[in-house]
Structure formats: C-alpha cells, structure tokens
Amino acid sequence: MEATGAEIVVRCLAEEGVEFVFGYPGGAVLNIYDEIFKQNKFKHVLVRHEQAAVHAADAYARATGRVGVALVTSGPGVTNAVTGIATAYMDSIPIVVVTGQVPTPAIGLDAFQEVDTVGITRPCVKHNFLVKDVKDLAVTMKKAFIIASTGRPGPVVVDVPKDVTSHITDFVYPDTLEMRSYNPVVKGHGGQMKRAVQMLLEARRPMIYTGGGVVLGDAAEQLAELTHLLGFPVTNTLMGLGGYPATDRQNLGMLGMHGTYEANMAMQHCDVLLAVGARFDDRVIGNPAHFAREQRRIIHIDVDPSSISKRVKVDVPIVGDVKNVLTDMLALLKQAKEKPDAPALNTWWTQIELWRSKNCLKYNRNSPLIKPQYVVEKLWEVTGGDAFVTSDVGQHQMWAAQYYKFDQPRRWINSGGLGTMGVGLPYAMGVQLAFPDAQVACITGESSIQMNIQELSTCKQYRIPVKVVTLNNGYMGMVRQWQEFFYGSRYAESYMESLPDFVKLAESYGHIGMRIDKPEDVEAALKEAFSPALKERMVFMDFQTDPTENVFPMVEGGKGLSEMILAEEL
C-alpha cells in the first residue's frame, strides 16, 4: 500500500505498539504532525521543552521496559533534545527519537534550522540514522526499535528530512529483520559459567554486586533465587536499586560514594565478587588502585563485552543477558554436589553484622528543623513502599536512594550516569502516564526543579497527578557539601537566591501547593497529598529542610571504598 513518509513514520510507531509519543512540533516535522492529527493509535503528549520530551520517553522506558518515543523538530528541537538523549545513553535506556531535518537538497547549505543531527548526537546514541530515501524509512524504523531494545539498550535517533516525509512509497513493515553487523551475545559461555559456580562455592567471604543490568534485563527474580540459594550478601548500585529487595536481610544497601558502611566494607574485603550487570563505575569502587589492594577473584556478567575489564580486571568474564546467565548458573548450582562453605559464611556474616551495627544511616531525629532523610522515610511509610519514585540530582537524590526502600525493580527512576538536574518532573510525567493509577512521587531540590519547572503546564494539560516532594534546603546542597568539605566552606554561587513562592507557582498552573516548615507537619502533608481526595491532582510540596544537612557516608573522590567519612556520632 502506498503511503507518504510522514504516514510511514506514524504507522511504524503504531505497528510497534507505541502508546505515547512525547514531542514538540516545528517546521521540519509538520507533515508528521499532520498524520498524528489523523490517527488514534497512540497519544501525543505535548511537552513544554524538547529536553522534557526525551526525559519523559526515557522514564516511560525505565518504568515499563518498553521503548520510549520522542519526536522533535530540526535545529533547536534537536539541540534541546541532546541532554535527554545523553542522559538515556549513560544509563542504557531504550528510546527512539525521531528528529525532523531540513529537506535533503538543503542539507549542508546552512539551511534554516539545520544542524548536523547525526554528527551532534553520534557520541551519545547507541546508533543513529539519516534517512535520505523514503524507501528506507520503514526498515530504518524497524532497525531503530530493534537496536534500542536489544543487547545493551540505548537511544537511537532517526533523522528524517522534510522532503522524505512527503515522498511516497509502498509501505510494508517488516516483522523481523537480520543485521549481519549487529548480533548481541545473549547466552553465557558454558565453561565460564561452570568456573563461576565453582568459584562461588569455594568462596569464604563472597559478595554479590548488582547494577542497572538486573533491572534492564528483568532478572530480579533470578537474582533473588540465586542470592537466597547461596546465602551471600548482596549490594545494589544506584542504578540497581530495587533489583534486589531493599528490606531483605541479605541486602547491605547501596554501595559506592554514598553507599552504606557495610556494603562498602564487604565490597572491599570480599574474596570472591560476583558482579551482575554493573560496570565498576568510578562513583562505585572509588580509587581503583586502592580497590585492587585487597586480593579477590571477580566474576563479571554483562551483555556488553566492553563493560568487562574496563576499569577493573576480572577473572571470569561472562558475556550474556543477565536473565539467561543467572538461569543457567542456577541450574548448575542446583546440580552441584558441593554446598557453600557454611562455617566460613557464618564468620563472614558475623563480621558484616558488626559493620552494619555502626548504623551508618542514622541522623538527628530531635532537630527542630525538618531533616530531609525524615521526609523520605515518611514518604516510604505513607506510600507503603509501593510508589514509583523519580528524583533529580543532588543530595535529595542520595537521600531518596538511601531511605526509600525499593523492593521492586523499575520503581526508582533517576539519572545516574549523566547526573542530569531537571529530569525529576518529566520523569514523573512519563511514569504516571504509563501507570495512571500508581502513586508517583518526584523527590527533588529547589534548584533541580527549576530546570524543567515549565512542565507543570504539561501536567495541567494532561491531568498528570504526580506528587512533587521538594527538599528545599535553599542551596545546591550537593555543591555546598563539597565546598564545605573541600573548599574551606567558601560557598561560591551555590546559594539559591530569589526562589519563587512554589505554592503560588503551583497554584498558578492550577495545581495544589503546600509549604511545610515543621517536622511535626511532614507526615500529615504527605498523607494529604497521597489521600484519595487528591488522587487526581498534582500536588507540589515544598518542604523547608535543614540547609546544612550533609549526605553520609561519603567516599571522597580519589579515596578508597573503605575510607568513608561517616556522620558525626550523634
């Protein structure tokens, strides 16, 4: 059947079962928008800034596991989208971004609203395409969805010149497609998995270190089974939170720069380390030379060979999809005659409990000021630990990670790799649209929220009832903390002057605003915001928190994992 390029774009999205397209129109995509107008297969969500479109698509993908889709126009539409694309890239999130481009004859002539989209986005996409011929369009869209969602996921950009959207061709959407140059390895190597199981059974001080790969690969169930079977301690990276239940005793909490004392100590002192879908990030292992001082054998499961032995040399590399590999290793483990070394494990757990008894996340509960940690704890209680929580970037992000106990994967939505301030609100929108009945909270700071505050308008238009929990310390707190610790308390440009009245601001967009000044009012405010009466309403809570509170524990940049700064004894 014949169709224009614009119709083809829209029909490909429908064929892929896309529910939402987050976008913003402009000259180069008007043909596509005209086709969107005529269809009813998916819903278009008009954001207020292209960055937010990509973030919302990204959050939709994080929460559902399906590919998120954004649509932007050429030139400034694309440059605005770049932060969103780079954010998704750093956290391996499957999205497809369709970008308008100037007509093919105008490419290279510095045409109005022309940028080299493929060139600008190349370093921050898994792959990108410029479609020069309408005959290639459907196949390219198919490739984009396959590449985005398989292997190590990531963003794919499809750049479509305006003339291509008006050209006509026969439309056939391929069901499947082979690419000789793209074949991610999904099954683990049998010999390596045997070696790994043997090594685990010989371990005396084992540790399981798990990351975003467990969440992305939907392998939480397999991870839990393996961990219980072995009786080993486990830790999650910031991106892996929820991949293993936070309330389970075997979980030592998050590790890394702001990880728990027990997780970091166990990581440093273990003799066998099983790394699962985690990439030994610099915020996780601290100084690699210090990390390497202790002798330990490392098994590393990752679908991307380039994640293995990149920063830390490993002994048993296993390339494959984490769900497949864990399933196969479980089978091997069940067949094995040996059992984990129980007496050694006992001694190890005794040591770990000693570390845990430091109670490194304690904070002053008698302060007359609202402690940010307390707000997050209460949020966890009030939402029954069952909310989707998005966050922005800063101290509040760390407190959200430390004090909201995620028991399920895909509930914690944040920017770990790029650390993009401004993601919180658009992330919450993407999640809430995907799960209209769920409780969605955005934990943010007074600085971060201002980076995409215009999206309050989108929330109004589409009645997106997210609950914003602003931990308002009046500072770019994370910056202020570093200045306090490492720059002699010289607070250069980290105080947030001239804040708006967030209550009035929210109200001006037609939402509900609340300002909370006292610790004793925290719980009631949260209960009200999450009450059935306000289920349909967007609520903006402005918690005035202690401006001087710091995030502990902390591993200073360049220091070893076991060299943590802890909160003063209280």
Partner: protein, 165 residues
Amino acid sequence: MSRRHIISLLMENEAGALSRVAGLFSARAYNIESLTVAPTEDATMSRMTIVSVGSEDIIEQITKQLNKLVDVIKVMDLTEGSHIERELMLVKVRAVGGDREEIKRTADIFRGSIIDVTESTYTIELTGAGSKLDAFLEAIDSGFIIETVRTGASGIGRGERSLKL
C-alpha cells in the same frame, strides 16, 4: 607496556561509518597512528586498517568498542597472529649532481623505484612494512626530502587466517 597493533575491520559501506570509528578514537582518547579505508570486492562492505599504540588493556577496549559499533561487522587484531603489513610511500627528493647517483643507490637497496624524474628531483615509490619505510627515510639525508606521502598501513593475515564474513 605499549605495543603497536594493526587492527583490521569490515564494516557496512554506509555514509558516516568512517566518522563513527574516527569519533570513537577521539572521544575515548585512543591513540591512532594511521587509518585507511576502501571498499572490498563486495561493494556493500568497506575494509579499514587502523594502527594504534597502546597497552594490552587499551587495545582490548579498542577492539571491544569497535565491535560494539552497529556498522562494524567484524574486527581482527592482525598483530595477534602472523600477518603481512604493507604501506605505500611516495617521497620527492632534491636530486642534483652527484647526489642523484647516491639517492638512486639507496632507493635500489630498499627496492624502491623512481617513478618521476626532473632535472632537480626524483620521486621514489616504496612499498613495505611501516618500519621499512621509516628506515628508508632515516637512510637518506633529511635535507634532501621535499615531500613525503604515506598511505598508512594495510594488513592481511597469513595463510588461512582471514577476515571475512
């Protein structure tokens, strides 16, 4: 310990494929000594030869990162096995009076051929491994050299060792 590696790869003959490889090297600050690319007997594929210097760890990352590029079909580190390396060089030298004979003799020793002659210059064509071309340049007085142009290395595995689909 840093070593020189010759990495060969096959990639889709797509617009922009070259810039993906070049961009990878600059973005990750990998060293690149030379890079050559041309189509193969199969018009849908190009073959690229990259010469890079790095430690084993870095070269391992380079080959993994290259393999990860969606347009790259296959990657092989030729230096991991026996292989042949060839590069073509054209050198234009000042050649007058008694120097003409001297230069011709040096070119002969290196099995170079003089492919252009004027009253005052010779242009010498030389093929071989990079090290041989370097040696030739060292053998003639640098004062004679007017221009040097090298293609960058190409390489191929010996015998049955092949990079093909």
